[in-house]
């Protein structure tokens, strides 16, 4: 088999993180090549470079031995590459056939749209792959799984000869996974080259010829699927156990007596089910899991932004389920959201205004904002939290990610929170800010504040948390005490490898 795609020294830097660091490997013609790694390992970034969504900073991509400059999705399409994205790129307001041919419409000689031909072709492909969907059905009427199959049909229709599947099975039922795998094998037999990204180790071994492991943006290795086992792959995904220094840092096992927050059997349809947890005073509780495991929704529910269908949430023994976010804030709950720009900052405002946005009563008198109070409160917090800024009047947009994150923390510290919910707090921020933020959290914990820390970075969970819950597909599946935390087992559980596989 000859070489189909070759990545040579590919690097890509995003503000605050190195997404891909000098990655080189190649993919053979006609193989099914799986790419595995934890969240943030660089899999999606690499596929987005191939798909033309991102441009690599350094390195070269070769297709059939020829270097290819892919700077937009159209280049990629012309090179015969089609991507089936995890987040579907289809229009809900169009029919199946309209979606399949969107951007690649067939015309009649007169210039008009040749719907007859398009419908026939789409029907042919759907039938060939035994996809049970009518060409005239509205996309909005289909289940997610069927939509995914339509997206695959679209990729095939584009006459692509390289198809990338980005976690295609995450929203499919067992039956649909089987259909998908049949399709993939069928495509392979027709000589197409398949890239398959997945978190599910069982599937990876079932379908792939070779496996490439990425970790922290680096290439770890490419292996023949028949010659490795899942135990070895998980080792490579997780990386080495933490250095002795990190482990010793907070290995002291603390005991906690007072429960401050108790979540009792909350469920919300499609998001999480029967989640219970206890948070003790002065404790840092980690919640580890993949994106989409329901972690963010759980945190939002505790903060009052989502309402569970059933269950109780208690603070100091009192049920707060009926309380609104504002009342929960007044009780001492604070949250740093995962999506900093989308729901953490006011980008139209200054640093000072952002900091006081949760403590109006502290700076207001007769309905008017006391400028002096604002400046002194915000000024003190800027110093305490070590925010690098010209001052309270600087526009928040001009700050680095790390400093923006510190502004959000400062905003909540002004309220002196008792329970601090942190959702992926280190995402997109520099190493220095990250260290400072965690140092601050440890100091606050000593003063009795409790923290729930959601993260997909296993290393920071291991370094900071007293106890960790593993969340997978909407459920808490296990709990690790400080002493029991073993990186490999935690990663394996979060990714859903059965224990017997290890």
């Amino acid at each position: 088999m000859s070489e189909r795609i070759r990545f040579e020294n590919i690097s890509k830097v995003f503000p605050g993180t190195i997404a891909l660091d000098d990655v080189s490997f190649s993919i053979k013609r006609g193989e099914i090549h799986a790419i595995v790694g934890a969240n943030g390992a660089g899999k999606s970034t690499l596929m987005n470079i191939l798909g033309g969504q991102y441009k690599n900073d350094q390195g070269k991509v070769f297709i059939d031995g020829k270097q290819l400059a892919i700077t937009n999705p159209d280049h990629s399409r012309r090179a015969g590459i089609a991507v089936v994205y995890q987040e579907l790129k289809l229009c809900d307001n169009l029919t199946v056939v309209e979606n399949v041919f969107l951007g690649n419409e067939l015309r009649k000689k007169s210039g008009g749209m040749d719907w007859k031909k398009m419908r026939a072709e789409a029907a042919k492909i759907l039938k060939a792959f035994k996809i049970d969907v009518g060409v005239n059905e509205m996309l909005s009427d289909l289940t997610i799984g069927k939509k995914q199959l339509v997206e695959i049909a679209k990729a095939v229709c584009l006459a692509a000869n390289i198809i990338i599947f980005d976690e295609p099975t995450s929203s499919l039922s067992m039956k649909e996974v089987k259909i998908l795998f049949d399709i993939i094998k069928d495509l392979k037999s027709k000589g197409l080259t398949i890239l398959f990204i997945s978190h599910r180790m069982g599937e990876v071994f079932e379908i792939s010829d070779r496996i490439t492991v990425l970790r922290d943006g680096k290439w770890v290795g490419t292996f023949n699927s028949a010659r490795v086992n899942s135990d070895q792959i998980v080792d490579m995904i997780a990386g080495k156990e933490l250095s002795a220094f990190l482990k010793s840092k907070s290995i002291e096992k603390r005991t906690f007596a007072k429960v401050i927050l108790e979540v009792d059997g909350i469920s919300k349809k499609k998001l999480y089910k029967n989640v219970s947890l206890k948070l003790y005073e002065g404790e840092i509780l980690g919640i580890y899991g993949l994106q989409g495991a329901g972690r963010t929704e759980l945190i939002q529910t505790i903060f009052g932004l989502l309402r569970p269908d059933e269950g109780k949430i208690k603070v100091w023994g009192k049920n707060i389920i009926a309380l609104k976010t504002k009342q929960r804030i007044d009780l001492g709950i604070a949250m740093v959201p995962e999506d900093r720009k989308g729901s953490g900052l006011f980008q139209n405002m200054t640093v000072g205004e952002n900091i006081i946005s949760a403590i109006p009563q502290g700076v207001e008198k007769l309905g008017l904002i006391q400028k002096g109070r604002l400046q002194s409160i915000a000024g003190d917090l800027i110093k305490n939290v070590k925010i690098k800024t010209y001052g309270v009047k600087q526009n928040i947009e001009k700050l680095s990610g790390g400093n923006q994150q510190k502004v959000i923390i400062a905003k909540w510290l002004a309220k002196k929170p008792k329970v601090f919910l942190l959702d992926e707090i280190s995402r997109g921020i520099d190493v220095g800010s990250k260290a400072e933020i965690f140092k601050m959290m440890q100091a606050l914990r000593k003063q009795g504040m409790s923290v729930i820390m959601v993260s997909s970075e296993i290393d920071e969970i291991l370094a900071e948390c007293d106890r960790t819950l593993i969340m997978r597909q909407g459920e808490i599946i296990s709990e690790f005490n400080r002493a029991e935390m073993v990186k490999k087992r935690m990663v394996a559980q979060a990714m859903g490898f059965e224990d017997e596989e290890l």
Binding site: F303, L305, M335, G342, G344, F346, P360, G367, K411
Partner: protein, 326 residues
């Protein structure tokens, strides 16, 4: 004079300054083109002409800052004029008739707010509907006839004082109407720039998710912006009644576009979260002097419409290009 620091200079609203320069430029051009423009009587006349639209634009600024739009301002203006006028001619005490007019404006505005923030109808549609509903009610209760408040139709010793707020001039020069505008501008300025509520308006318009996650009642904040707009539109509608003494149900038709234009020219972003009261005031002044100046210079009134359209597009285009450069 205090010299501004570098940081303070950076924080000055560039749009406010640039739009003010445009205003000065247009002002100078008309001063050169015609000797009639700079006369004190003419300038006072411009100030009076912009008063009613200016009052309404203060409310509109807040609505646009929270990221919404209100197309019903002209209808509220017409409706409240009719209500107050009919109550006065029916022999009600004038203060009560005015109060009922003001309250009905605020209620219609609040209703807009309810539709937008609780039933979650897009404001463009909710207020488009309300524009027709308001005009319809005004037509129905007035049977489509003009309402006249004059000594012939109203027997009330206080009528003259009522008409004074629309027609009067302090010291024989300054229109009372413009003093009302000034008061509304000051109230709106304090509300928007100094008060907690104003801070919340900016917060909700800037990022409604963050606002909710900060414990701000975003729905109530939006409702307030609409209710405030309803109230100021009622003030304008009632002033109009006192000024022309003869109002029709459709007297506010089309005003919404002038009002929105002045807010946009003044630099308030339709995306929400950004805008200034002073910018809107300058915006309405620009429209005012263009209307007046072009007429004085003797250019066809048809040109006026075209020029205002170009100013709107030009102002926003420059803004957008500058923003992209940054």
């Amino acid at each position: 004079m205090k010299i501004l620091t570098k940081q303070e200079l950076k924080n000055i609203n560039l749009r406010e300054v640039s739009i003010f320069l445009v205003f000065i430029l247009i002002f100078i051009v008309f001063t050169i083109l015609t000797p009639h423009f700079i006369k004190i009587d003419n300038l006072l006349n411009i100030i009076r002409q912009i008063s009613l639209n200016g009052i309404m634009a203060m409310g509109m600024t807040l609505v646009i800052v929270v990221g919404e739009i209100d197309l019903s301002v002209g209808a509220i203006y017409g409706l409240t004029g009719i209500i107050t006028g009919m109550l006065i001619t029916a022999g009600w005490p004038i203060w009560l008739a005015v109060l009922v007019g003001l309250v009905s404006g605020a209620v219609v505005g609040a209703f807009n707010g309810l539709l937008v923030s609780y039933i979650k109808i897009p404001s463009f549609i909710a207020t488009l509907g309300m524009m027709n509903v308001g005009k319809g009610i005004a037509l129905l209760i007035s049977s489509g006839l003009p309402v006249v408040v004059s000594s012939r139709t109203v027997d009330n010793p206080n009528l003259d004082s009522f008409l004074y707020i629309g027609q009067g001039k302090i010291w024989g020069y300054i229109p009372v109407m413009s003093v009302v505008l000034l008061i509304i501008v000051i109230i709106s300025f304090i509300l928007y720039n100094k008060s907690l509520l104003g801070f919340h308006l900016k917060a909700v318009g800037g990022n409604i998710n963050t606002a909710k996650a900060s414990g701000i009642n975003a729905s109530a904040v939006k409702l307030f912006a609409f209710a405030y707009t309803g109230l100021v539109c009622a003030i304008a509608g009632i002033l109009n009644l006192a000024f022309i003494t003869n109002v029709r149900a459709d007297s506010g038709t089309g005003l919404e576009l002038t009002v929105i234009s002045s807010v946009i020219i003044g630099g308030t972003s339709l995306d929400g979260g950004k805008g200034t009261i002073i910018g809107t005031l300058i915006g309405i002044l620009i429209i005012g002097i263009l209307n007046n100046g072009l007429l004085l210079v003797g250019i066809s009134p048809f040109w006026k419409v075209l020029v205002i359209g170009m100013v709107i597009i030009g102002a926003v285009a420059i803004d957008t290009i500058l923003k992209r450069r940054k």
